[in-house]
């Protein structure tokens, strides 16, 4: 293009181009007529495909990348849930006296698992909802990566974000309500298994929700359920609420934790509750991987 401008006073024949967009060298100069746009001809024999990304290395890469987000989004991912759970326990301390009882066990276990519900269920539902709505899923969908790697890597990272918060909440709760801390090692199983179940559910809701606001709403409702049905003792609830409590994946982590506060824990009960969490985790993560595939390619 040639330009003559009162500002540049360039000569009519002086070539100007796009700043920073030089003509590329080695171009094929064949003048293709408009008809050549037609794609009737094929593209010859199949050229070799690049390899797919393998499940475990790509899962590791997604996990590492997601985990690094804690540096940028530290406050919502690491702190808010902990402040909320500790705050609830301080409030409950006003109405529940310390010492081992059904109430104190429920408050401490419920508040600890609430951290997992906040991050794994609520924030992950919001994350996937926003990613889907903004078109961010296209990035992953145009990479040869197994859907399970994206879903598991992200869910795993969100479950990992809860580790410090759950530990701080559980230890603070045991101190506040004078409960034994000796059984807290069970958190090593409760966090990953409840994390899998709740993050799987969060991912599923976020990926299925047609609009991001709905994903946020579902995540908030799930977390509110985990709060109300988790920190109150089951025996004092009406039957309908007890059923609702049984439907919540967080309940089984709470139950496993409550059992370990007892002087003589019922280990079969603990294992059973953990097994339910694990099974729910497997089902929700498989469904979330399916929902991811469905959301990515329309």
């Amino acid at each position: 293009m040639t330009t003559l401008s009162s500002r540049t006073a360039a000569s009519p024949s002086e070539p100007t181009g796009v700043p920073g967009a030089p003509a590329l060298g080695g171009r094929s100069a064949s003048p293709a007529p408009a008809a050549a746009a037609g794609g009737r001809g094929g593209t010859g024999p199949e050229q070799p495909l690049a390899p797919r990304a393998k499940l475990w290395p790509s899962l590791g890469a997604v996990y590492r990348a997601q985990l690094s987000r804690a540096r940028v989004a530290r406050i919502p991912l690491l702190f808010v849930a902990t402040f909320q759970s500790v705050g609830i326990m301080i409030l409950m301390r006003g109405v529940v006296s310390g010492g081992l009882s059904e109430e104190t066990g429920a408050v401490v276990a419920g508040a600890s698992v609430l951290v997992v519900a906040f991050v794994g269920l609520n924030l992950l539902a919001q994350y996937f909802g926003a990613l889907r709505a903004s078109g961010g899923l296209d990035h992953y969908a145009t990479l040869p990566v197994p859907p399970a790697a994206v879903v598991l890597g992200t869910a795993g990272a969100y479950a990992s974000f809860t580790v410090p918060g759950v530990i701080v909440t559980a230890v603070t709760g045991c101190v506040l309500f004078q409960l034994p801390v000796t059984g807290l090692w069970v958190l090593a199983a409760v966090i990953p298994l409840s994390g899998a179940a709740l993050a799987g559910l969060g991912a599923l809701l976020g990926l299925l929700a047609p609009r991001p606001e709905l994903a946020t709403l579902c995540g908030q409702l799930g977390m509110s359920g985990a709060l109300l049905l988790g920190v109150l003792p089951a025996s004092s609830m009406p039957l309908a609420l007890q059923w609702a409590r049984d439907l919540l994946p967080s309940t089984y982590g709470v139950e496993a934790m409550i059992a370990t506060f007892q002087p003589d824990p019922d280990w079969v009960n603990v294992l059973l509750n953990l097994a339910v969490s694990a099974a729910v985790g497997v089902v929700t993560l498989v469904l979330a991987a399916w929902a991811y595939r469905r959301a990515a390619v329309r």
């Binding site: 293009m1 330009t3 003559l4 401008s5 009162s6 181009g17 796009v18 920073g20 967009a21 030089p22 003509a23 590329l24 060298g25 080695g26 171009r27 094929s28 100069a29 064949s30 003048p31 293709a32 007529p33 408009a34 050549a36 746009a37 037609g38 794609g39 009737r40 094929g42 593209t43 024999p45 199949e46 050229q47 495909l49 690049a50 797919r52 990304a53 393998k54 290395p57 790509s58 890469a61 590492r64 990348a65 690094s68 987000r69 540096r71 989004a73 926003a130 961010g136 899923l137 296209d138 990035h139 992953y140 969908a141 145009t142 990479l143 040869p144 990566v145 990515a296 390619v297 329309r298």
Partner: protein
């Protein structure tokens, strides 16, 4: 990637002939062939907070043939169907009918193969926004199947090539729009794909960044015969970098040729842009006469006319009272925007920058 373009010398490529004989032009092999592609969206009834939309054919019987090693452009204003077309090419959207073949693979039957043949740079970066630049590029390389060491090496090389080194440890969302886009281009370049599909890759970039992007793409083309499909609504960039361009309007390809070939459509006409300080001096007869033919946008008048007439018009507006009222003027040879208008496309939405 093995292809004919790679084996051509510079001179041969310039003449478009592989064997040097004037009779037998040997075009490089076709890398992407699109035939009769149609994608429609049904009409939607109005709902609370959302207006009704009519049924729309976003891609309307599109045929395209892109040669290996070519930088091929899709040009059109927003809403012309460019992004819908590339989303079908990348396997993200299923066409209603039609055929897409990329490097011998049928992508309508096997959309999952797209990710193993091409790299796609979409308009959104939200999947990478909270990662640091180096981790975003490295993770993308890992997810394109690279092992850890290879991915790290390739990330360093791409960051050096694009001048991203000083941002390496900053999160994408903390960068300016142009810097973020540059990081996303870096992510698209890792993994050595034989086809790059880039949707407005240089949006928001400064000239230096643009230059580094085009240099990086050109190097891949020279060394590996990489084919590039570029979506743009920037006519000047299209003219500068594209080998061939398909002009899109309302989902249809209304022309496809080299930028030079397309500009021949509008003949010798030139474009005169006049920008007035305030009200144009219509009391001057020459100015009043120009008004009749001008396309007016605020204080800017755009006129398309033969060079002789343009010279007379310039003489008229650069003398006396008219010049005092003139803020700026530009006389330019035809651009792809003029071609677009001459072909019957809607002009709004194309940018010159």
């Amino acid at each position: 990637m093995e292809n004919g373009a790679q084996e051509l010398s510079e001179d041969e490529r310039d003449t478009g002939r592989a064997d040097g004989s004037p009779e037998e032009p040997a075009a490089p092999p076709v890398a992407v062939a699109v035939t009769g592609l149609v994608k429609s969206y049904p009409a939607r009834r109005a709902r609370r907070g959302r207006a009704a939309t009519e049924a729309v054919r976003a891609t309307d019987r599109v045929d395209l043939s892109i040669r290996a090693g070519e930088v091929f452009g899709l040009l059109g204003p927003n809403g012309a169907g460019k992004s819908t077309l590339v989303r079908q090419l990348t396997g993200l959207l299923r066409p209603d009918t039609g055929r897409i073949e990329v490097l011998g693979h049928d992508l309508v039957r096997h959309p999952d193969r797209a990710s193993r043949l091409l790299a796609y740079l979409g308009q959104e970066s939200s999947a990478l926004d909270e990662l640091t630049v180096s981790l975003a590029i490295e993770t993308t390389a890992r997810l394109r199947g690279r092992d850890a060491e290879h991915a790290r090496k390739e990330t360093s090389a791409v960051m050096a090539e694009l001048g991203l080194g000083s941002f390496a440890d900053r999160a994408l969302r903390r960068l300016s729009g142009g810097e973020r886009r540059l990081a996303c281009v870096g992510a698209a370049l890792v993994g050595d794909r034989p086809l790059l599909v880039l949707d407005e890759p240089t949006t928001g970039m400064d000239p230096l960044a643009r230059r580094s992007v085009w240099a990086a793409i050109d190097r891949r083309r020279r060394e590996h015969g990489t084919t590039v499909l570029l979506v743009t609504h920037n006519v000047l960039e299209a003219e500068a970098v594209l080998d061939r361009v398909a002009v899109l309007d309302r989902g249809r390809v209304i022309a496809c040729d080299t930028p030079g070939g397309l500009k021949a459509v509008v003949g010798d006409d030139v474009r005169l842009d006049l920008v007035w300080r305030s009200e144009p001096p219509l009391n001057i007869p020459e100015v009043a006469a120009l008004r009749e033919h001008a396309q007016r946008t605020g204080r800017r008048w755009t006129l398309r006319m033969p060079p002789e007439e343009a010279r007379t018009a310039v003489a008229a507006v650069t003398g006396g009272a008219a010049f005092a009222a003139l803020d700026d003027f530009t006389l330019a040879t035809p651009s792809l925007e003029d071609v677009y208008l001459a072909l019957g496309g809607r002009g709004e939405g194309l940018v010159r920058m």
